[in-house]
Amino acid sequence: MSTRHQDRGTAVSPAPARKLLAAGLIAMTALVSLAPTSPAQSETTRIQRVVSPGGIEAWLVHDTTLPLVAMEVAFLGGGAQDPADKPGVASLAASLLDEGAGDLDARAFQDKMAEKAIELRFDASRDMVGGSLRTLSENVGPAFELMKLAVASPRFDDEAVERIRQGQLANLRRRVNDPSTQASLAWSAKAFPNHPYGRPLAGSLESVPTITRGDLAAFAKKTLARDNLKIAVVGDIAPEKLGPALDEMFGALPAKAELTPVPDVTPQGLGTVEVKTLDVPQTSMVFGGIGLKRNDPDFIPAFVLNHMLGGSAFSSRLFKEVREKRGLAYSVYSHLAPLDHAGLILGGTATKNERAGETVDLIRAEYLKLLTEGPSEEELADAKSYLIGSFALRFDSSAKVASQLLQIQIDDLGIDYIDRRNELVAAVTLDDIKRVAGRFRENPALLFSLVGKPEGLAGAGNGSSGG
């Protein structure tokens, strides 16, 4: 299980569908008869560990139902590797990997992708650089070639760097007054002063202009290596073909990444309410406190506990109290955020300014109440039942399966984890929940970050550590 791929539970009536359709451009599409013409031959029934002749490992689910291949890769070491005075390097570098590599300048590279409808993109998160490839299986050769070029020989040409930098700056300016983004950035800055996690992943209007080609090339050289690489592949490619292709794609990378050690950290400012004033009718808020890391033996019970608090879209305590009973918000959620160097519990909501103070008090009270009184047997049984039953929903497309296989590798949970996971959830008892609630109760204070013109906060902030 990976909370990073968990639905964050924005509840009913999401974007009017027309928005989705417009965004995707592809409003109409079809089941064309391009499925493999060969007889049934999806012989693979398990996740396979494919190791290339050169020793590079990938997890593969070989499935020939559709003529496509999805591949997800991760290089551990993301934005947390940024120089302290230059946040945004990892993010900018990731955006530039498909903007010119090897003999191909940006235009030639993008043309190669477009000619074959190959989708390849890279993104940085705090702890990794992720790459995502999707291709028709008939084009797997050129697709793998582009992946190879992107990771092994990105060019960072001046033209591309400037162009992508301008795009990044426009994004940063666009969000300067976006309440939810600003609430999230302010939360991290307050919780992690003097630590990479406190800096903005996408950089800032001050830092992004100072990033040089040298910074980007250095990041790529140190981070894109073989020993911190995880690979998951799903779809119409046989293991015998994938093995050698892994060497082709990744064999030229340095054997070892040169990562800067990142210290473990606990969030600061707990018990306080940070406010950024912005002239909007609704206050956005992010809240969070100390949670657990993914390798903590209590992670699964904590995950179940969070589900009851704010993980479930329609039956969590926060949903019922904040939204359903009082109509305070459209969306309210919480989730565990197990970063590599900090375990967190995070959440968010948005309510009209007049009721912001009331909402802060309510969330604090509900959190403390769950930690103190615990759930009922029935509530726990319902939560487990949901988490067990819904696990299969994470595996109904190639892209989703690949993401899951990648995350399981990153979290080092073992290739049999999918078979074990539901037993782990089923085994959680009320005593386990009480134990883990006790651990959260050791420091149950939450840091709130609010953006808007909140009212009714008197007495709510005030440095109390009541949580």
């Binding site: 089941l31 070989h62 609704q282 879209a313």
Partner: protein, 455 residues
């Protein structure tokens, strides 16, 4: 619990279980009460996506009641005579299902994603709430506050969204697409229980609904289940042909400016009134290709000219919403780099469009656009929920399963002349609403949110 556990534990492996490898055929039929059914088999994982689409959306609202279609969608989760508030959602949750709903201009849809053995359960509940909804002010009033918060979050907190809303209103002077799906704030505040029930009784009836089931199912089995559940719901209203006030051929270009202190990054966007797939198939498919040629990513014309060649923009793109009952929109947009005047950016954008309308696309870029669109149709097959949405939206906007199936072949037949022709006819000033989002007048850029510490 053990049965659930087994189903879920085999989830991943089942994706790879041996299966016939031919693409499954989409099946369709109509129940005796007039409810349409579409089944999209996908046997790779033991789960199903179950959706019910009603042929009613915000464009079917009466004047003065904007937002009622969407408000009713929220209220549909408040319980029925047979299943009191919360029971349906609780059961979905207990069986490990996911649920949600959404409202558009032309349709309202409800869905659950569950392990396949629970399909009948969710069908039973969904059929029950087709006619059995019970509403009290105790649940209606707090939910209205939720909708108002939703509106604040999506629109009132964001100047860009406010401008989009105004542009939509400016585009449609007569057709009801001009009012926002979520409703105008003042009108949402007046909506009540009686409005919701009246709307419900008029539009929620099996002969106005489409069932879409995608996933690990056989069409015959779904048919039997549908007859057992939805088939027993009596019609309670007759449906009429969906004729809305027609948008007249526009004669004057419209220009909007929203200047707000909260705007950190200016932007330029424009929408043109164009036909939907339902009404002008050939033009619509050519417009799909045109949107790709003009704005489909970083190999497209707008990006190559405005961003790469001229360095005027930080980003640029185009979009076309073909799935619509009535005349729809084709959009272009660009984000200026600092110190680039809007007029200069707009003139450059106009030049790109004019050149395409005069000369048409080059052979290579036409081929690229078509390749992308056809590949997208194949990529879409990877996700049962995506497929369910595509078929549901198509049927709810007056097109057919065959239309969806034939679309890639239609794309392949589009010629450079076709693309040039639709650009020339539709991308003209009189059809356009052009919007500029700017920082507050007299200010170079927005004042960022000011930190204001409270312990």
């Amino acid at each position: 619990m053990p049965a659930l556990l087994l189903a879920a534990a085999t989830g991943a492996a089942a994706l790879a279980a041996p299966r016939p490898s031919e693409a499954a055929e989409v099946a369709q039929y109509t129940l005796d009460n007039g409810m349409q059914v579409v089944v999209v088999p996908d046997h790779r994982a033991p789960v199903v996506t179950h959706m019910v689409w009603y042929r009613v959306g915000s464009a079917d609202e009466q004047p003065g009641k904007s937002g009622i279609a969407h408000f009713l969608e929220h209220l549909m989760f408040k319980g029925t005579a047979s299943h009191p508030a919360g029971e349906f959602s609780q059961v979905v949750s207990q069986i490990g299902g996911q649920e949600n709903a959404f409202t558009s201009t032309d349709y309202t849809a409800y869905f659950q994603r569950v392990a396949k053995e629970h399909l009948k359960t969710v069908m039973g509940f969904e059929a029950d709430r087709m006619t059995g909804l019970v509403l009290t002010d105790e649940v209606v009033l707090p939910e209205r506050d939720v909708v108002l918060e939703e509106r604040r979050m999506r629109t009132d907190n964001d100047p860009g969204a406010q401008l989009s809303e105004a542009a939509q209103a400016a585009m449609y002077t007569n057709h009801p697409y001009g009012h926002p799906i979520i409703g105008w704030e003042d009108e949402i505040k007046q909506l009540n229980r009686e409005d919701a029930l009246a709307f419900y009784k008029r539009f929620y009836t099996p002969n106005n609904a489409i069932l879409v089931v995608a996933g690990d199912v056989e069409p015959e089995a779904v048919k039997a289940l549908a007859e057992e559940t939805y088939g027993k719901v009596a019609r309670r209203a007759e449906t009429a042909e969906r004729v809305r006030p027609k948008e007249p051929t526009p004669r004057a270009e419209r220009r909007l400016v929203l200047a707000d202190a909260r705007v950190g990054q200016p932007s330029l966007s424009r929408a043109y009134l164009v036909p939907a797939y339902r009404n002008e198939k050939k033009d619509s498919v050519a417009l799909d290709v045109l949107a790709q040629v003009l704005g489909g990513g970083s190999t497209a014309r707008l990006y190559r000219e405005l961003v790469v060649a001229q360095g005027l923009a930080a980003g640029a793109g185009a979009w076309y919403q073909s799935t619509s009952l009535d005349d729809t929109r084709f959009g272009v947009s660009a984000t200026p780099r600092p110190d680039v005047a809007m007029d200069k950016l707009e003139a450059a954008m106009d030049a790109v469009i004019a050149k395409l309308a005069a000369d048409g696309p080059e052979a290579a870029e036409l081929e690229r656009a078509k390749t992308r669109l056809v590949a997208e149709a194949i990529y879409a097959q990877d996700n049962q929920a995506t497929l369910a949405r595509i078929y549901g939206a198509a049927l709810a906007t007056g097109t057919t399963v065959d239309d969806v199936k034939n679309w890639p072949d239609e794309v392949k037949q589009v010629t450079a002349e076709d693309v040039k022709d639709v650009a020339r006819r539709y991308l003209v000033p009189s059809r356009a609403v052009t919007s500029q989002l700017l920082p507050a007048r007299g200010e170079a850029a927005a004042a960022p949110a000011t930190p204001d510490k409270r312990s």
